[in-house]
Subunit: 381 residues, 2 copies
């Protein structure tokens, strides 16, 4: 499989603005399509930049591995400055603990069934494991079901404005005290400023909300006699704006970036590290062409900031406008590319796209290709 | 793991109408969530009904296995009357041929790279394999790359109104003659009346379009000296309205049905065979609760006919209104169910949901549970 380098210029057209993409990409001549390609040079640059940026602000980097679900890439993150990892499911925790990771934060208020408790008990013997709590009932389930509740470290989740999960910041202390009285060990507070995804204008405000909420929550814990040694914030968009008393950030998407991160101003086009390779399979219907990447290759995820389901790198302004499971329809008024043409799509949201694949096809500028397993793909529970 | 039966009544609220769901469902006490549950009694009833209905109209049933991607379920379809299967990718074809299926239709105008050609050559020795063509260029790639092009059976794809792929019906003969002159063997014409998904009003018209287009295409082939022995139509919504000269139908979703099929009038609520089991993980934010099924468990697929990303069976009118990867936010004005409550979600579109899981949790009314592997999950190429 030979490797060619080409420079492409593409325009992404979100509703509100235009972003010009200029990125080097690759052609793997007989690559199976649809496939998920990553450029490891860009990945490494993204990882190093984030670690350096956070460390210069004395903030620890605990990347969310739900984005890539890959042991090899988590090892790369660790080698390039990550301080522990964040996971979303017990299944992810199992994969990464089995691979030797020993400092994990399961950043969700998971419900503790007997099955979950058995796994948490086992994992917390093998690694330092933190878990989120946002209700006294959730804390009671943990305390009741676990054999060794004090082995776990509890993080109180607070709502800094996304209004998804998390207790109010000024009520965090009461919940933390409740956890402690159940025999649980609270070590800090965390939040996810997901309202940053409303648009580029929202990013700075969301970061400020995260910092303010964590500070209020920390004071609330202190007032209840609990010290928060960890103040954990962060989404990929807000992380550049964090500072103050924040001790840790948990970005995920920054390893690859995607069309949405570029639209938010959280990444530049040359920081895009992942694309879906696809081929044109039909030009039969006028005014469009069809690629072999549909909703099972790109997801059907939309963004309020973006038109369609992905941007074609090679064709200025070409957007995947309609999806079937194995067809992507690209509205296109010019002469369509011929059947068989290899194209590359920048997905809207890379995290859910990665979850559709078993491995990444990997390239470096000027080197031959390789493959990296997506070890925790589908580990949903 | 014990099994309980409960009767639930739920209302699905699409934009245009309300559909009342009354279905028996199951509670697997310590089931891991999110999980994909199917009721095998309902599956078998769906399979038998479709086979009987089509056979009474002298139409062969070639179910699309992309919906379930499971060897066990394809065997069940065969045992209950299916005449061959339809697949969407080479990877799916490989899985089902390896499992002994010997009559497959790859219903796409796939692009033939050297890699694809090698696989098609191998598969066409092991099974009767049909493949779609909608361009002369695509036919040329097949004829050039294959070692044994005459082993394959070619189906000309025509556009009956979905405007996705397929040549115009009256041009099918010219394309078929072109294929024959390249040494390919054309056996019929096919179409997918996907414009049926526009709404319940569109279903009958789309079925009529399919029948009319196939008849025109068949005549066009005849005029060019090619006999179409197969006239293949069908999507799950249109299949009940097929007749005339149609020889074969290719429904997929009918095995499980989903929220969209019910909204289209193509299934009744008691024909829903698949749900996602989930638990409440947070009630911290007023006016809503959060379940552990997000976009990696439900997909982010929307339908113009439906609000949100899925309906909660147990709670009348409760819809998943917002998704993160591991969170589903359910807007809910009443007293929310407590953290830990087990709920079941009817997905919008079951085919893409199945592709997220490695296995089905299986139940029958009154029997203990089992598991069925989703063998071809992620076989995208």
């Amino acid at each position: 499989m030979s490797l060619h380098l080409r420079a492409h210029s593409t325009t992404i057209r979100p509703h509100c603005k235009e972003v010009t993409i200029i990125s080097e990409t690759w052609t793997l001549d007989d690559i199976a399509t649809p496939s998920l390609l990553i450029n490891l040079d860009v990945v490494e640059a993204n990882l190093t930049r984030m670690a350096d940026s956070l460390h210069s602000r004395h903030i620890a980097l605990r990347p969310h591995v739900k984005t890539h679900k890959s042991v090899d890439l988590a090892r790369l993150q660790r080698a390039l400055g990550a301080d522990g990892i964040t996971v979303a499911t017990i299944g992810e925790a199992e994969v990464f603990v089995a691979a030797g990771f020993d400092d994990l934060f399961l950043a969700l208020p998971l419900w503790t069934t007997p099955r979950v408790a058995a796994k948490l008990d086992r994992l917390s013997k093998l690694a330092k494991l933190r878990i989120g709590v946002d209700s006294l009932r959730g804390a009671q389930a943990l305390a009741t079901q676990l054999r060794a509740p004090a082995e776990l470290e509890i993080m109180i989740e607070i709502d800094s404005g996304q209004h998804r999960t998390g207790t109010q910041p000024d009520q965090a202390g009461e919940l933390a005290a409740g956890c402690q009285s159940l025999g649980l060990r609270v070590v800090g507070v965390f939040t996810h400023g997901g309202h940053s995804y409303a648009g580029a204008d929202a990013v700075k405000r969301a970061a400020a909300d995260e910092m303010a909420a964590l500070e209020i929550a920390s004071s609330s814990l202190h007032a209840h006699g609990v010290e928060a040694k960890v103040l954990s914030a962060g989404s990929s968009p807000t992380v550049d704006n964090l500072g103050g008393t924040v001790t840790e950030a948990r970005p995920g998407t920054y390893i690859f970036n995607d069309r949405q991160q570029v639209a938010l101003g959280a990444a530049t086009p040359d920081q895009l590290a992942a694309v879906v390779a696809t081929r044109v399979i039909s030009t039969a219907v006028p005014g469009q062409f069809v690629i072999d990447a549909g909703s099972k290759a790109l997801t059907a995820e939309r963004s309020a900031l973006l038109d369609g389901f992905g941007a074609i790198i090679e064709l200025d302004g070409a957007i995947v406008t309609r999806l079937s499971e194995h067809h992507g329809v690209v509205t296109y008024q010019g002469t369509p590319p011929q059947e068989g043409t290899l194209l590359h799509v920048i997905p809207n949201h890379i995290c859910t796209v990665v979850n559709l694949y078993d491995h990444f096809e990997v390239s470096r500028s000027g080197q031959t290709s390789d493959s990296i397993t997506i070890d925790a793909r589908g580990h949903l529970t």
